[in-house]
């Protein structure tokens, strides 16, 4: 079974939006990591990861978030996670403590609103 990850990258008011579709596991994690890195390289430090179409996430997938969050927060940026729908994904976010660490927004507008509030 080929478990692909498709990345949809866009921007809203200077906020980078990375929408994940499919499977984020050890094989696809590098793809996701590169996507975040190129947003940071482009100077965007506010990043929303939209998980509405994410079907699976493994520990390695979670690790990608962890690899950037410290650095981003230290420089005034952040990662917000939104739209988590798949039960398995939601379960992992909950048990891993991600829910507390990142805060899960209901959907994209809600996540964007969190940034607006923060940067006010």
């Amino acid at each position: 079974m080929v478990r692909n990850l498709v990345l949809h990258i866009s921007q809203i008011d200077g906020i980078a939006v990375i929408a994940l579709e499919g499977f984020l596991d050890a094989h696809t994690a590098p793809q996701f990591e590169e996507a975040i890195q190129s947003e940071i390289d482009a100077g965007r430090r506010n990043i929303v990861v939209d998980c509405a179409r994410l079907l699976y996430i493994s520990s390695a997938g979670l690790g990608v978030f962890m690899g950037f969050i410290g650095e981003l927060r230290e420089t005034g940026g952040d990662i917000k996670i939104c739209g988590v729908a798949a039960p398995r994904v939601l379960q992992l976010f909950e048990v891993s403590g991600f829910k507390d660490l990142f805060g899960l927004a209901a959907d994209l507008p809600a996540a964007v609103a969190l940034f607006r509030e923060k940067d006010k």
Partner: protein
């Protein structure tokens, strides 16, 4: 919930096992490990250091800790200062292949989580070792490949250069090899040697002539990099510089490395040998060409000397010429005036032409042709000398002239007339043993456009001997730089006066050789002996 949690742990292990088995590259493996561990704890900071073969550990991967740099030497203290709080050995704790550190943890790590991480890292240890070995082998292979390629390039060049006999061709091959090996489009190959046109092959560089290049790079005795990122290599032959290779910068991001300098030095050494070989070959060909020309001139000259002398009734005449070099400057002849019988008057002539070689041979042939054509109608020696003088003066450069002793003999009566055109005084040995020197006024032929010669007369009696010669006879040297001198010539003539003319010539040459005692002959030696028998 607990079941789910355990399941994710199993899943993570399974996933890791799959990924680790499929990868031979170190970086992706490390990234995966750190991601997985940081994702599970979850940890804000993470790092992995891997033990190096040469000892110590190096930080290979850092996440969320700007104070740590990838590639630096791993010290646990500095890692702690950078925010790492927990360290897991990768592999057996007694002999780990590396260490994974984490920090920024929300709470203490649960024992079962630590157990999972240990299992994961245990799984990874052998894969990391393999990847390291693979990386080493890969690097070694790449280096080996590169060396092989360099060797092949040098071999190719050597093969090409072996067939290159022209310095320009050598420069072309060397240029191609440089450009191909380093993918450069700008280069200069230059080489120079005394008495050879300098070689300059340039591509994409500001055309510079020799002085400009030498001013810029003249002091270059060993390979050096230029400020523009190029490379200058001297071509040296027996320690002296004979050329330069100037290479432009390589592709962006590629610099000339240590191995490149070695390759360049090898190439320059080959170029040096090839240039020297090509020049040497050119010299050899030029010399061969010159020798061929000289041979030709010598052949012409041999034909100018009479193959046999005419016989004069009641007289005995013999002559010999020995050249110092392949093509000499002396000439002798015995030519009839209007009539060609043994009793008809004849002209005896010994001449010494300035210079040697082809030019002298040409002047000699002019002199001979002039004398021959004039003799038929002109019996006055002064006229003969004057007309010849004018002709040679008009047709030859100022530094080409000839001294000559011209003597007309009447075989029947023994009456003789002569003009001496700045030549050695002829030596007349009377039957009674007295010696007379036959000199007279007058410049060499072809030197000045003036009539300066005077005709003088004398008579040959039976038993008298006349010797015409060139300065090579009396100036022949021995190893002590002494000269043969006219006195030795006189004694030799007296001692051998009873012999035939040919015998006297032989004896005189023997005497000169005995005197010279092996010292080199610097000048042509010409001798004509004329003896009146009755």
């Amino acid at each position: 919930m607990t079941t789910g949690f355990d399941l994710t742990r199993l899943e993570a292990l399974l996933e890791s096992a799959q990924l680790l088995q499929s990868s031979l590259e170190l970086k992706p493996i490390l990234k995966h490990l750190l991601r997985t561990v940081m994702g599970r704890l979850p940890a804000l900071r993470g790092m992995i250091a891997v033990c190096r073969r040469e000892g110590g550990s190096r930080v290979e991967l850092v996440r969320g800790a700007a104070a740590l740099t990838e590639g630096s030497v791993f010290h646990e203290d500095s890692a702690r200062q950078a925010g790492m709080v927990l360290f897991f050995p990768i592999g057996s704790p007694s002999e780990p292949v590396g260490v994974l550190g984490v920090g920024g943890l929300p709470s203490a790590v649960k024992p079962e989580e630590a157990e999972f991480i240990e299992a994961l890292l245990g799984l990874a240890a052998s894969v990391i070792s393999n990847a390291q070995a693979h990386e080493q082998a890969h690097i070694a292979n790449r280096l080996l490949d590169q060396r092989l390629q360099e060797l092949r390039a040098l071999l190719d060049l050597g093969r090409g250069l072996a067939a290159a006999f022209d310095p320009e061709e050598v420069a072309r091959l060397v240029g191609y090899t440089l450009a191909g090996r380093w993918a450069i489009s700008r280069y200069t190959v230059a080489a120079w040697k005394e008495n050879h046109p300098s070689v300059l092959r340039q591509k994409g560089m500001t055309p510079g002539d020799w002085p400009a290049l030498q001013e810029k790079y003249g002091a270059c005795v060993e390979a050096r990099l230029t400020p523009e990122g190029g490379l200058v290599l001297p071509i040296r032959s027996r320690e002296s510089p004979i050329g330069l290779l100037v290479c432009g910068p390589r592709m962006p991001g590629v610099d000339y490395g240590e191995a490149d300098l070695e390759f360049g030095a090898g190439l320059a050494a080959q170029a040096a040998v090839a240039f020297e070989k090509a020049w040497h070959l050119q010299d050899m060909l030029a010399r061969q060409q010159l020798e061929k020309e000289l041979e030709l001139a010598a052949g012409i000259q041999r034909d100018l000397f009479p193959s046999s002398l005419p016989s004069l009734a009641g007289w005995d005449v013999a002559a010999r010429n020995r050249q110092a070099r392949q093509v000499g400057g002396d000439y002798y002849d015995v030519l009839p005036f209007a009539g060609t019988g043994p009793e008809d008057p004849h002209l005896l002539c010994v001449a010494d032409i300035s210079g040697k070689g082809i030019a002298a041979a040409l002047l000699m042939s002019t002199l001979q042709a002039t004398l021959r054509s004039l003799l038929r109608r002109e019996s006055s020696l002064v006229e003969l000398a004057s007309i010849t003088n004018e002709l040679l003066y008009a047709t030859t450069p100022a530094n080409k002239y000839s001294t000559a002793f011209l003597c007309a003999v009447q075989p029947r009566t023994g009456e003789c007339r002569y003009v001496n055109c700045a030549h050695n005084a002829a030596l007349l040995l009377r039957a009674g043993g007295e010696v007379e020197l036959l000199d007279g006024p007058g410049f060499a032929l072809g030197l000045f456009p003036m009539r300066t010669h005077q005709e003088r007369e004398f008579a040959m009696q039976p038993g008298d001997i006349l010797a015409l010669y060139s300065d090579g006879v009396i100036e022949a040297q021995n190893p002590s730089d002494e000269q043969f001198e006219i006195e030795r010539m006189k004694s030799c003539l007296r001692e051998n006066a009873g012999g035939t003319a040919a015998e006297i010539v032989d004896r005189l040459f023997e005497a000169i050789d005995a005197f010279a005692a092996g010292a080199p002959q610097y000048d042509d030696i010409t001798l004509m002996i004329v003896k009146r028998n009755d």
